[in-house]
């Protein structure tokens, strides 16, 4: 174990001990924060997966990914507004139908958007110097934010509360208030991540993606269509980000055009924390960062959360650049 690893584990351990102390002293408050953190973390995990998959396969920090996530939420708001009758009902069949339409619509649309971005903006620069695709990605991020800004201006967009809510759809266990949507977020994210894991490990395309991430040239020689594989990676990443956007909208009911910048950076931090390029790592990293943010909001103050998160980002890269679960990049 190197000095860096040691520092990393000492810091993690300290944080865990401090939190454990809180858990013992104020158990119900702690549990309540835990619920928030898990829900946030689930969404970060969904977004982080897209960053990690894209980085794993073409070593690009896809700055536009966070904005694809936001765009997903915008699309969801529009689709829901179209389908749902009275959004403030606690539970109705029409809301359920709206949800069943919204998820695939937003996800597929985002998939298409992301494939287009890859095709138009990234693919021509695949062999250009590092800086070119990076700036293009930032430009794409501005472009998407710009589109949403034109759409809604600087105002908050309301997302209808279509999930079952209100009396009968929440409960208090041991002083912890849990709503249906808290459970929904975590379960939905868990299902999506599991589907992704199965896909990556079992399907032919998933194997092609793993192979391409390992060694692009060799994969090409083995007859893998690199362009198609990379496009698929962007598509799947965007499906998850789109779903994440819808879930975020349903959970918080409010979105703004620039939501993706901060959320994207936090999700990216999650991916780095879990070990960039590592898919289970990104899911785990998202949960850890979500919890960290929730605890930081509660115990340190929400204005410090951003400092804490980016402090973690820097700390991880300095002490343990391979992240929690390590990278898949083999020693060369």
């Amino acid at each position: 174990m190197s000095v860096g690893d040691f520092g990393f584990f000492v810091i993690c351990l300290t944080a865990i001990v401090l939190l454990a102390a809180q858990a013992v002293v104020h158990p119900s408050e702690f549990a309540q924060i835990l619920v928030f953190g898990l829900a946030d973390g689930a969404i970060y995990a969904l977004v982080a997966l897209g960053y990690t998959m894209v980085y794993g396969i073409i070593e690009l920090i896809n700055f536009a990914h966070g904005d694809v996530f936001t765009l997903g939420a915008y699309v969801a708001a529009a689709v829901m507004g179209f389908f749902a009758g009275t959004s403030e009902d606690t539970f109705s069949v029409s809301n359920l139908v709206a949800l069943l339409v919204t998820f695939p619509a937003a996800m597929l649309l985002m998939g298409a958007v992301n494939i287009t971005i890859e095709r138009v903006a990234y693919r021509p620069l695949r062999n250009a110097p590092r800086l070119a695709p990076l700036i293009t990605a930032i430009g794409m991020s501005f472009l998407l934010e710009g589109i949403m800004f034109v759409w809604s201006g600087p105002f908050t967009v309301h997302v209808p509360d279509l999930l079952p809510h209100g009396p009968g759809f929440n409960t208090t266990i041991g002083g912890v208030f849990i709503e249906f949507k808290d459970v929904f977020v975590v379960v939905a994210a868990a299902i999506l991540v599991s589907l992704l894991a199965v896909f990556i490990n079992r399907s032919k395309l998933g194997k092609a993606m793993r192979a391409t991430a390992q060694d692009r040239d060799a994969s090409q020689l083995m007859g893998i269509n690199i362009n198609r594989t990379i496009a698929a990676t962007f598509f799947i990443g965007a499906l998850l980000a789109g779903a994440g956007g819808v879930i975020w909208g349903l959970y918080f009911n409010a979105i703004t055009y620039n939501l993706g910048f901060r959320t994207g950076l936090v999700a990216f931090t999650s991916a780095v924390f879990g070990g960039i390029g590592n898919i289970p790592g990104a899911a785990l990293g998202g949960m850890v960062i979500g919890l960290t943010a929730a605890f930081s909001d509660a115990y340190i103050g929400s204005k410090w959360t951003q400092v804490v998160i980016f402090g973690i980002l820097i700390g991880v890269l300095v002490f343990r650049p391979t992240g929690l679960l390590g990278m898949r990049v083999p020693e060369k």
């Binding site: 070593e59 920090i61 903006a121 021509p124 620069l125 250009a128 110097p129 590092r130 800086l131 070119a132 695709p133 990076l134 700036i135 293009t136 930032i138 430009g139 794409m140 991020s141 501005f142 472009l143 998407l144 934010e145 710009g146 589109i147 800004f149 034109v150 201006g153 910048f261 950076l265 990216f268 931090t269 780095v272 204005k303 410090w304 951003q306 400092v307 980016f310 402090g311 980002l313 820097i314 890269l317 300095v318 650049p321």
Partner: protein, 406 residues
Amino acid sequence: MPAARSLWSRLHLRERIRDRDTAVYGVLLIVALVWPMATIFATGDTFLTSQAAHAGTWVLLAVGLNVVVGFAGLLDLGYAAFFAIGAYSYALFASFQLASSPLHHAYHLPFWLMLFVGMFVAAAFGAILGFPTLRLRGDYLAIVTLGFGEIVPQLFLNLDQWTGGINAIGSIDQPSLPAWITGPWAGANDIAIVRDFNFSFDPVAYYVLIVILIIGAVILVNNLHRSRLGRAWMAIREDEVAAAAMGINTVTTKLLAFAIGASFSGFAGAYYGASFGLVSPDSFLFVVSVTVLVMVVLGGMGNIAGVIIGAIAIYFLLNSVLSSLPANLQSLSNAIGLGWLNNSNGAWPGLSELAQRLQFLLYGLILVLMMLLRPQGIFPSRIREQELKHAVATEEETVVEQAHAS
């Protein structure tokens, strides 16, 4: 006589390179000299001169970032953080801000001193951040600097006891000099020498100052570029492993680039604090770092003259073309009888508002198009272009040599 021939062509080539650089710098210098006279004469006020002085801040930033990105090939996405550090260093110690801090005492240190303090503080932060991170791979450095760039403005925002947080620091001291030339542009009747001059009297003074600062910076950076250190940076940029094998300590060499780049940013920050008179946490966001980076890339990384032109071009684009777009569109639609477009109506926010909102989108679009169409910048590094011409010359030379041999 191939040896003499090649020596000749070599000398000739050098002359050409030097000539082109001299020419570009000469033109820039003349424009810089003529600009205040021409604009004041044409418009009757100093607005355009102040604008140019403001653009100068960005030129200074771009020249500094060029050392990091263009010379050494390091990705820095948090350059604005050092700018903020320089600006706040000056603002805190040259305003009444600290009187309302836990210190209960305001400091008014002279600008000329703080210019260099800001520079050293920023360089120190650059070194502190760079030391543990420069061993990492290029992308990781980009991410670390990005994180740093997000943390620093947030810290200035959060530590409101000291920095005033969201209220910003205002009425910052302006530099003063024992003597200065005044004239009609500053409201005086004649050209005369004034004593105990304060920069708040005359916006042209800032322009003169920034031009001098830029000239100084360009000379120093040029010196570095053609030195042992400059070559080491380029070597690292081209191939880090080979550079190390040639005996270059890559970590300290990169650290120097990082710290020198940061010092420029701190320097520019102190100037910005004084000239703008207001320092606020939201002036140093990610978009600032990106914009400076884009200036460097657009100008053709590593090419100092190109970077200066790139900075001016982007500044003009952002602060003139895009920002006047709403007003221009509005008057255009009025002029051609489509004035009703200007009124907001239901989902239609009105033409001017729409144009306002479009700015960000257009900026993104420009970035993408720029990278797709000219990834090497508008003015690619001098030598890169040179080589194309030269390759032809060599071919001829070889033919001649072969003819002699046979």
